[in-house]
């Protein structure tokens, strides 16, 4: 027993490999392959996760189309578009970050990660503004939900701007479903953003210490995949939630 660690140490130094190669992988290539594959599989589970929400959305949108149109008119397209721009920019800075890590540019990597981090915060800030508008107008599902904007659109500046006709009461009530899905879908997306931003903060600290610019970029690369995925989810959410009645 006592001499075993020595024996294993000896075996370990017999073949050379970089310090960041985990002991159970035979080659560095195998390690990069395996972790990358794992990340793609994880994103597949994420697709299934959001898939349940999208299914619910599609069914109810088909059933209660007028309510979904009226509900979508309550969202500010300007904020949504701005946020889409912010997210796409953050994906760009993230992609640049991966490139910087690949080409071992430490300063560039830290800059890109900080930019991605800030753009993520801007997205959440804008989302907070949008959420607070809904709270003020009692458009959060639950006991305080108000139908006024839909049964009497003239009382509501947004609905009036679109020239909405008053919805019959039972259809107007289904706008609550639209907002339920709106909060569930954007909320789940925002939760993914928050997790991403937390990981980004961790990565910025590590990147400053030079962790990802010595040739081992798996973590940055895989986080990049996650960030782009969250971005793509938004690319679907934006038209589905904001642009319902805006096709030819």
């Amino acid at each position: 027993m006592s001499d075993s660690p020595v024996a294993i140490e000896g075996a370990h130094t017999a073949h050379e490999h970089p310090p960041y190669q985990r002991h159970h992988f035979e080659t560095m290539e195998q390690q990069v392959d395996a972790t990358g594959f794992a990340m793609w599989l994880f994103l597949l589970t994420e697709i299934m996760f959001f898939g349940g929400l999208f299914t619910a959305y599609l069914i109810y949108r088909n059933w209660y189309y007028p309510a979904f149109v009226a509900g979508s008119h309550q969202l500010a397209i300007i904020w949504g578009t701005l946020n889409t721009g912010v997210l796409i920019s953050s994906s760009f800075t993230m992609a640049m970050g991966v490139w910087c890590a690949e080409t071992r540019r430490k300063g560039g990597l830290v800059l890109c990660l900080v930019l991605t981090f800030l753009l993520g915060l801007v997205f959440l800030g804008i989302k907070t503004i949008e959420y607070s508008e809904k709270i003020e107008k009692h458009h959060v599902p639950g006991f305080h939900y108000s139908l006024k904007s839909f049964t009497n659109p003239d009382s509501d500046p947004e609905a009036k701007a679109y020239g909405d006709k008053p919805l019959p009461l039972d259809m107007a009530r289904h706008t609550e479903m639209y907002f339920g899905l709106y909060f569930a879908m954007t909320g789940m997306h925002a939760l993914h953003m928050i997790i991403g931003i937390a990981i980004l903060a961790f990565m910025i600290v590590k990147a400053q210490a030079g962790a990802y610019t010595t040739g081992h970029i798996t973590f940055v690369e895989n986080f990049g995949l996650y960030w782009h995925f969250v971005d793509i989810v938004w690319i679907f959410l934006f038209p589905l939630l904001y642009l319902i009645s805006r096709h030819g």
Binding site: M1, S4, I8, A11, R22, H23, H24, F25, E26, Q30, D33, A34, T35, F37, A38, L41, F42, L44, T45, E46, M48, F49, F50, G51, G52, L53, T55, A56, I59, Y60, W63, Y64, V140, P141, G142, F143, R173, H174, E176, M177, F179, G180, L181, F183, A184, M188
Partner: protein, 564 residues
């Protein structure tokens, strides 16, 4: 059980143990390598994580089993006298939640699969050891939430969380149970993801897909289901939680929501989950049947692909849980037909195992006894599933004890038998010691008898129309219920025995040596218990799975070198 090496020919056992007077457990192995609680709690070693899973799963099995005992005790008499009816609702709900999410889903994959997949494919560990450990912590977190739920007064929705019952009408701990299952789901996702990556990327040189043991194929198929199905359950539970806390309306008919949507999302996971539970068990049976009949599994390729076929078909049959819930007649027709399709790959497996036995040199060690139990009971469970997949008979039989008997035949008669078979089969590899053979054969027999006594009467009760999930029943059903409760007592003894003698064997069992069963898998060619790094040198695989002639040649070579 003879301990000396006997000559070839007709014999009662294939067990070959090293000379007990000189044999020792290898001094350096994964258990002895490090000491102290932290060396276990912070380990990345798949074998240690598997052992931790084994202990925790056994713990939750005991809780689930005790709850089952309470259910059977209550049903001893027609009146609800042992407990109030709402307590009974909580007891059967917690029994279902604990047994399904904390025992059956992780049972074989997280213990045996975790321990064996790297060994079987010739790797030093799973691809993602930290994720593997995280998966155990998530499991424990979920377990703690479930225990909290029980302490806080339980939940009485049934394990299916049927809405709007769970979202609008109950004041029990739906939230904490929902969160517990959400977390347990992620534990399961990470296990499945780890297995898929490992099987794709970590195979030893020469270990091609069609040289993989069928145990690995079965786990691969189950992992696909875990990765694709579990997230849908997760989102269904998130929506239940949001519906309950915020009232978002998705499942609320008053707001235009449709409770049937919940059923679709729930069963989209929970039907494949049935195969998550059974497929790894089928993998165990393939290994055991081959080893104890000394033959390559008949139709290896067919058995391998039948696992994948079960995984694929498993995703297209979920609606057969909803035939009486107001879905369209045309879709029930389609789903009924698709359900029949799943019977095909399952039957392929049973037939191929039977053909493996044909003209094999069969011996009757404990794992084989459990495997025989599996084959019989799973066949009955599977065929009664055909009754339930047929729309006409389903309307009569669903929500009765027939369905309870059906899934207990598959899950307890099938999966639990397979789990015990596998635990006995690989116990020598995991611990380095044999379990006591005679008493474990007795335990296998007791389990089989107890099981049939418990659940066969329930088929009859179901056809007579006794509904499930009630604490009271008409007096004419009492005789069969007494039979069932008596059987459950026997079954309880059958489960208690292995826990006792396996614990005993950790210290007093005979030294097993590397390969007590003369089995061909890579895991049997290394020391027991294995080294932390599994293989001192990564093996180069030059033979198919279950190649007993290769093993014989290997033994001859070793005999020659040892003479020199």
């Amino acid at each position: 059980m003879s301990s000396e090496i006997s000559s070839y020919g007709f014999e009662e056992t294939i067990v070959r143990l090293p000379d007990q007077s000189t044999a020792r457990i290898p001094k350096v192995n994964f258990i002895s390598k490090e000491h102290g609680l932290l060396s276990w709690l912070l380990t990345g070693d798949h074998k240690r994580i598997a052992m931790m899973y084994l202990a925790s799963i056994t713990f939750f099995f005991a809780i689930g089993g005790a709850l089952a005992g309470l259910i059977r005790l209550e049903l001893l008499t027609p009146q609800s006298d042992l407990m109030a009816t709402d307590t009974y609702n909580k007891v059967f709900t917690m029994h279902g939640v604990v047994m399904i999410f904390l025992f059956l889903v992780p049972s074989v994959p997280a213990t045996l699969g975790n321990f064996l997949i790297p060994l079987m494919i010739g790797a030093k560990d799973l691809a993602l050891p930290k994720i593997n450990l995280l998966s155990w912590y998530l499991y424990m977190a979920a377990g703690c939430m479930v225990i909290y739920t029980m302490a806080a007064g339980g939940v009485d929705t049934g394990w299916t969380f049927t809405v709007p019952l769970s979202t609008h009408y109950l004041n029990t701990n739906v939230l904490s149970t929902g969160i517990a299952i959400f977390i347990a789901g992620f534990s399961s996702i990470f296990t499945g993801l780890n297995f898929i990556v490992t099987i794709h990327k970590m195979r030893a040189p020469g270990m091609t897909w069609f040289r993989l043991p069928l145990f690995v194929w079965a786990h691969y198929a189950a992992s696909i289901l875990m990765v694709l199905g579990t997230p849908v359950l997760a989102i269904a539970l998130v929506l239940v939680i949001l519906e309950r806390t915020m009232g978002i309306g998705v499942f609320d008919p008053a707001k235009g929501g449709d409770p049937i949507l919940f059923q679709h999302l729930f069963w989209f996971y929970s039907h494949p989950a049935v195969y998550i539970m059974i497929l790894p068990g089928m993998g165990v049976i393939s290994e055991v049947i081959s080893t104890f009949s000394r033959k390559r599994v008949f139709g290896y390729t067919a058995v391998a692909f039948s696992s994948v076929a079960i995984a694929v078909f498993g995703f297209f049959v979920w609606e057969h849980h909803m035939f009486i819930m107001g879905v369209s007649n045309y879709s029930t027709l389609v789903f009924s037909l698709l359900t029949m399709l799943v019977a095909v790959p399952s039957a392929i497996k049973i037939f191929n195992w039977s053909f493996t036995l044909y003209k094999g040199s069969i011996t009757f060690e404990t794992p084989m006894l459990y495997a025989f139990g599996f084959m019989g009971l799973f066949t009955i469970g599977g065929l009664t599933g055909v009754f339930l997949g047929t729309t006409g008979t389903d309307i009569h039989l669903t929500e009765t004890y027939f369905i309870v008997a059906h899934f207990h035949f598959v899950m307890v008669g099938g999966m639990l038998m397979a789990f015990l078979s596998g635990i006995h089969f690989w116990w020598p590899k995991m611990t380095g010691r044999m379990y006591p053979e005679k008493i474990s054969q007795l335990a296998a027999l007791v389990t089989f008898i107890g099981f049939n006594f418990t659940f066969f009467p329930q088929f009859i009760l179901g056809t007579l129309g006794m509904p499930r999930r009630y604490a009271a029943y008409p007096a004419e059903f009492q005789v069969l219920n007494v039979f069932s409760t008596a059987g459950a007592t026997i079954l309880g003894v059958g489960y208690l025995l292995p826990i006792l003698y396996l614990t005993w064997s950790l210290k007093y069992g005979e030294i097993a040596g590397n390969n007590p069963w003369q089995a061909t898998g890579l895991e049997w060619q290394i020391q027991s218990p294995p080294l932390t790094e599994n293989f001192p040198e990564i093996p180069i695989v030059d033979h198919d799975a279950y190649d007993y002639e290769w093993l014989e040649r290997k033994h001859e070579r070793e005999a020659v070198t040892s003479v020199r």
